[in-house]
């Protein structure tokens, strides 16, 4: 079972770029990798929670039904969100921008 929803290679690529742009306080390889993993998890969580929160509560139950069916294709998910009035790409872009600004502008952990 994947611990991320979004492909971790894609997440990792984005996080690596972020980490290169900001001085970090990690002193060991272990600290560095822990920080990288945590950042990836935070990003994955931020994007998907933003997507789920874009749906009204009554639509969430319907969405959960789609998830319960393992045969639901990506197109069906796309159509579902579109029919629900959600622009998935915009939600994702906005979340990435906010995450990036927070990462570069805030305190690193």
């Amino acid at each position: 079972m994947n611990s991320y929803i979004i492909d971790q290679e894609v997440l990792g690529q984005f996080v690596d770029e972020l980490m290169k742009k900001k001085p970090l306080s990690a002193n060991t390889a272990e600290e560095l990798n822990d920080f990288r993993s945590k950042t990836m998890k935070d990003l994955d969580n931020s994007i998907n929670v933003a997507i789920f929160n874009s749906l009204p509560t009554e639509k969430l139950a319907e969405f959960e039904n789609l998830l319960d069916d393992k045969n639901t294709s990506p197109d069906i998910f796309q159509r579902f969100f579109s029919d629900s009035g959600v622009d998935l790409q915009k939600v994702t872009d906005d979340t990435l921008n906010a995450f990036t600004k927070k990462f570069l502008g805030g305190q690193d952990e």
């Binding site: 611990s3 929803i5 690596d16 290169k20 390889a29 990798n33 998907n48 990506p74």
Partner: protein
């Protein structure tokens, strides 16, 4: 000697009882239990926001396992003005990729092993993996942990999720954490990797506490044993997570040495144990100078190795640095021999005993002086201060046959017969030919021609 024996606290009674009760009750799967817990918690909350939060939590978990949704979410990130494009709009990078990877890590990579940063929870591999059938580089772990076996197990578990799963699956069931009881190693690993970070860290903390309560002792085990280890899928490729897999093997062991972790209840009764293979290397004095390989559990329970790729039962032995067993110090034996010989010399002396043909007379009774008769032989006289000897008589005071070598305290009659004296002088054995101390009395007499 385990310094923790008198320091560690025994597990509280309620923990043991709780574990026993939960073993007896029917178990649902971890995910079912978790979902019910979240659902029951969600039902307790009254506000719509809290209900939605609970629903989103449940949906999040399901979304992780749905390939269709995963593809959608991944595509969204890739399509976000292109990942590179989005990042390019950010302030210029201060460090190149190479600098970012080396400036912070630097020498640490070489000291504590190379972490490939694949993204799984704490996948740690050593650039020098050591033995082919290792779980980790035990020598590096031992160096970091100062040869403390408990710390070595904790460190290995923290830095290699497969090791963590191996330990958890092989713990005594009453010590296994909730949600992990009775699972195989692979099931445990899958469950661990699926945990959110906070829960994973809690699992690590619980595991550390369990290991801290363990006592350790060296043991030897026999019979069919199972163990798991990491191996390269393709030995020609580099050591990365993608190229590694955990496999199981079965071996028939005889006097296999392991480090046994065991736990006791509040009464000091043993409640379970776990054998970890940490092969020590000893010097000629028997002191452990390091470890080679392993760190994995050795178990007679085949269940936990279910569904794991199997390797042939007897992996080919690879000659390596031979384990040095504690040997006796040959120098010590020689030293002891020397001490014994010296003691003998001090007690007995090195002077050779001279045997005179004039039996019955001790050396102290004799003094050589020129013969008053002009003969070339020495005339023996009785020294001043020596005791008078009894005349030789047949019977009770014929001490001659009781003599065995010179003895200052024994007195023997002196022959007053000149003829006997002359015969004795003629038969006198030169001192350098006289038998030394320890010679058999019969040999001495025989050497003198006396039977």
């Amino acid at each position: 000697m385990n310094s923790h024996e008198f320091e560690r606290q025994k597990p509280p009674v309620e923990e043991v009882n709780t574990a026993s009760e939960k073993i007896k009750t029917p178990r649902s799967t971890y995910q079912e239990r978790g979902a019910k817990t979240r659902e029951s918690v969600a039902n307790q909350k009254s506000s719509p926001e809290q209900s939605k939060e609970a629903l989103i939590t449940r949906i999040y978990k399901k979304a992780q396992e749905h390939p269709g949704y995963v593809a959608v979410a991944t595509g969204l990130v890739v399509g976000a003005a292109g990942v590179a494009g989005l990042v390019a709009s950010l302030p210029s990078a201060n460090l190149s990729s190479a600098e970012a990877n080396t400036s912070i890590v630097g020498e640490q990579n070489e000291q504590i092993g190379i972490y490939d940063g694949y993204g799984e929870k704490g996948m740690w591999l050593s650039g020098d993996k050591g033995g082919k059938y290792d779980f980790a580089s035990a020598s590096e772990v031992a160096e970091v942990c100062d040869d403390d076996e408990c710390e070595m197990v904790k460190y290995t578990a923290h830095n290699q999720v497969e090791s963590f799963a191996d330990y958890l699956a092989n713990l005594p069931e009453n010590l296994q954490p909730e949600g992990f009881k009775g699972l195989t190693i692979l099931e445990t690993e899958k469950r661990l990797e699926g945990l959110p970070d906070a829960q994973y860290e809690e699992m690590e903390k619980q595991f550390d506490e369990t290991i801290d309560k363990a006592f350790t002792r060296e043991a030897t085990i026999n019979g069919t044993q199972n163990n798991a280890y990491m191996r390269l899928k393709n030995p020609e490729d580099s050591i990365t997570h993608d190229n590694m897999e955990v496999v199981a093997c079965t071996t028939n062991e005889s006097d296999l040495r392991v480090m046994q972790f065991y736990w006791t209840d509040e009464n000091g009764n043993e409640i379970g144990h776990m054998n970890v293979k940490m092969t020590p290397v000893r010097d000629t004095n028997g002191y452990i100078v390091g470890y080679k390989g392993c760190n994995q559990v050795v178990s007679s329970n085949p269940h936990v190795y279910t569904d794991m790729p199997k390797v042939p039962d007897s992996p080919p032995w690879e000659p390596g640095e031979p384990e040095k067993l504690k040997a006796k110090d040959p120098n010590n034996l020689k030293r002891i021999d020397k001490q014994i010989n010296q003691a003998i010399e001090d007690a007995v002396g090195t002077e050779k005993v001279s045997v005179t043909p004039n039996q019955g007379v001790s050396n102290e009774d004799l003094t050589e002086k020129p013969s008053s008769s002009g003969s070339t032989g020495a005339e023996t006289v009785q020294n001043e201060g020596s005791k008078d000897a009894e005349p030789v008589q047949n019977g009770s005071n014929n001490y001659s046959e009781d003599r065995g070598g010179a003895n200052a305290n024994e007195y023997a009659p002196v022959k007053s017969n000149e003829q006997a004296q002359a015969e004795a002088d003629a038969n006198e054995t030169p001192y350098d030919q006289a038998p030394t101390g320890g010679a058999d009395r019969a040999d001495v007499l025989s050497g003198l021609g006396i039977n």
